[in-house]
């Protein structure tokens, strides 16, 4: 562990330890579903995320923050969130690349391609579907939906059959090579139940990601939903995603 990592961990650890210590007496003797604070009432929330496609600059910080926060393997085959770059060409052709799999960001901007008429970035993550096909297929109920609408995996129960990975239409799941269990975005459940924002939202420099509670009356996400034209990915599959995209191009799948 280098100095930087130590500091990063320490910044997280000390406040977290203090919070836990404060909550410990209240939680004693109670079952702890997913280690939520004792006064947290999951039934009062219904979490979602808004993505303003026009605001994403493709800096990839959300991906790095996610990997660090959630201990996602560094290798470019495992992502809880990633960024896709779309280039629409004059002739109507669309070229897509995942910029998060690059080993390093290019030092110089690539030369301008005059045939490109439009470029945009699309952050992707688990859609936390209200009607999740991954939960439906799990043979042992290791993947489940919380009352506040987040799809989680119990890594102590998951048998690693990978059926959920096959069932996810969005490629949002992978098998964690360390735990040998299915893994995916949790909306940083450990943070949001503490009143914090998911790591990716926290670090986004342009506020392209808006985290919120669809049950909250004056919530930012509710407002985002109201003022933007919203699309979701693959609506025909009836998964009812709770990741809501504004200004999404029809080319994005």
């Amino acid at each position: 562990m280098n100095k930087r990592e130590f500091l990063k961990d320490a910044i997280l650890f000390f406040p977290a330890a203090a919070t836990l210590q404060a909550l410990a007496p209240a939680a004693e003797g109670k079952a702890e579903p997913a280690k939520t604070p004792a006064d947290y009432d999951a039934t009062k929330h219904w979490y979602g995320m808004g993505i303003d496609v026009d605001k994403c600059i493709g800096c990839n910080r959300c991906v790095e923050a996610c990997k660090a926060e959630n201990d996602v393997p560094d290798e470019p085959f495992f992502f809880r969130t990633w960024i896709e770059r779309y280039q629409i060409h004059e002739n109507g052709e669309t070229r897509v690349e995942c910029i998060s799999t690059r080993a390093a960001l290019p030092e110089q901007a690539p030369p301008e391609d005059p045939t490109v008429v439009r470029t945009f970035f699309v952050p992707k993550l688990c859609n936390q579907c209200a009607h999740p096909p991954c939960v439906q297929v799990c043979p042992v109920g290791a993947t489940f939906q919380t009352q506040d609408g987040v799809v989680l995996v119990d890594e102590k129960r998951c048998i690693g059959c990978r059926y959920c990975i096959q069932a996810c239409p969005y490629g949002a799941r992978y098998l964690n090579p360390r735990t040998k269990t299915a893994d995916k975005c949790t909306f940083c459940y450990h943070r949001v139940t503490e009143g914090l924002l998911p790591a990716c939202v926290e670090v986004c420099p342009t506020e392209a990601r808006i985290f919120g509670d669809l049950k909250g009356k004056a919530d930012r996400l509710v407002r985002f939903h109201r003022v933007n034209q919203i699309s979701v990915l693959k609506p025909d599959l009836n998964t009812e995603p709770k990741v809501l995209y504004a200004q999404l191009d029809g080319e994005v799948r």
Partner: protein
């Protein structure tokens, strides 16, 4: 955070990443269901097919097929005992597999399959074989000594009654079980098809025809396996084949292939005609990555050529030796073709991105758990089990021992 993933996995995934064509979601580089999941429906299909062939004798009184009745049953059992192993081995946490039985998720096709499998093995196959062999087991226990006597006694569950009434009951029971067994065999393999067919995220799998296509191909592969074994055994033992039996199996095989071919053709025509969003990438998949395994091996060598041979055998009066050779070749071609079909479904469905914008690659490992060697071992194991079962429960034993014993 340190990566620390196994080097072999890193190497495999790096290689597969370098082979990607177009755009794929980054988590799609890894092939989630690999060679072992190809082996699994292959084995299960042979079980269902062999059992259905056997049931022709009991339920539909097709007397010509009587000589292979026991062979078909023992084949079904040998493959059934191995069918669960590839699933078990492929799990990330095999030690938690029991959870499927103790805390099953009712909405999961996979969880319910566990029960279908158990029901078929314990509720149908073992009981049917027991009733079929009970008479022989009682006699074998009487005629053998020492350890063997104990084994046969235990296998017969210490029953002794070989009175005509008891034997008539055995016969009735085994017929009844077969009647229940046919829908169960349909369920067993139809269900395997449903595991794939119900995945709406994957248009290559998600088809309402998938269970029935799996079922028909299962029947084809099961019949072909019994035919293959029947001819092989006669060669090994230097015995004369019952050609009436073989011709009859050939006829059933022909009918099954025609139905299977029709269903698969319907599936493809339907897809092409509906021409949904996925058609572009699927066409690209079939014409590139799957061309050899689907068009050449599965369709031409594994289906059309056997179909042609079987039609020829029925329309031209070849002599016995030639017919035997043709049947043998046909059964082998079909067995390879159906394996290829399983490959094309399981691996094929993971060679294109769900973004419908790119194709992936699958590099099979040679050693390790999820590897070629394990797959070969699992494919060989049923034959070893079958050899043991043949020693333990000789299918023709009654012909040489029973009359004397019965008197």
């Amino acid at each position: 955070m340190s990566g620390a993933i196994p080097d072999s996995l890193n190497e495999q995934l790096s290689h597969q990443l370098s082979q990607v064509v177009g755009f794929i979601y980054p988590n799609e580089v890894e092939t989630q269901w690999a060679i072992l999941i190809v082996v699994y429906p292959y084995l299960t299909g042979i079980v269902a097919g062999a059992f259905i062939l056997a049931s022709l004798v009991k339920v539909f009184n097709v007397v010509e097929v009587q000589p292979i009745y026991r062979l078909a049953l023992l084949t079904a059992l040998s493959f059934m005992l191995v069918a669960g192993m590839p699933l078990q081995l492929h799990l990330g946490h095999p030690e938690r597999a029991y959870e499927i039985f103790f805390t099953p998720q009712p909405t999961s096709a996979m969880a319910m399959f566990g029960f279908v499998y158990l029901w078929y093995l314990l509720g149908i196959l073992l009981i049917e074989i027991w009733f079929e062999y009970r008479h022989q087991l009682v006699l074998m226990a009487q005629q053998s000594r020492g350890l063997l006597r104990g084994i046969y006694g235990a296998l017969s569950l210490y029953s002794k009654d070989v009175s005509p009434e008891a034997l008539a009951f055995d016969h009735k029971a085994s017929k009844l079980i077969t009647i229940v067994g046919i829908p169960s065999a349909f369920l067993l393999h139809g269900y395997v098809g449903f595991i794939f067919g119900s995945v709406k995220a994957n248009p290559w799998w998600g088809s309402v025809l998938m269970p029935i296509v799996f079922l028909m191909s299962a029947i084809v592969s099961g019949i072909a396996m019994v035919m293959f074994l029947y001819i092989l055994l006669s060669l090994v033992r230097n015995e004369k084949l019952d050609m009436r039996c073989l011709d009859k199996i050939g006829l059933f095989l022909l009918v099954a292939i025609i139905v299977d071919f029709t269903l698969e053709a319907l599936d493809y025509i339907h897809r092409l005609y509906q021409s949904e969003e996925s058609i572009g990438i699927l066409t690209q998949l079939v014409s590139s990555k799957l061309f050899l395994s689907l068009v050449v091996v599965q369709l031409l060598l594994g289906m059309l050529l056997p179909l042609l041979i079987l039609v020829l055998v029925r329309s031209v009066r070849f002599n016995e030796e030639l017919r035997k050779l043709l049947y043998f070749t046909t059964s082998l071609l079909i067995l390879v073709g159906i394996f290829s079909m399983r490959w094309n479904v399981v691996i094929g469905g993971q060679l294109y991105s769900k973004s419908l914008r790119g194709l992936m690659a699958y590099k099979m490992e040679i050693t390790g758990i999820e590897s070629l060697l394990t797959a070969l071992a699992l494919l060989a194991l049923p034959f070893i089990i079958l050899t043991v079962l043949f020693r333990l429960l000789p299918p023709r034993w009654m012909e040489s021992h029973a009359p004397a014993a019965a008197n």
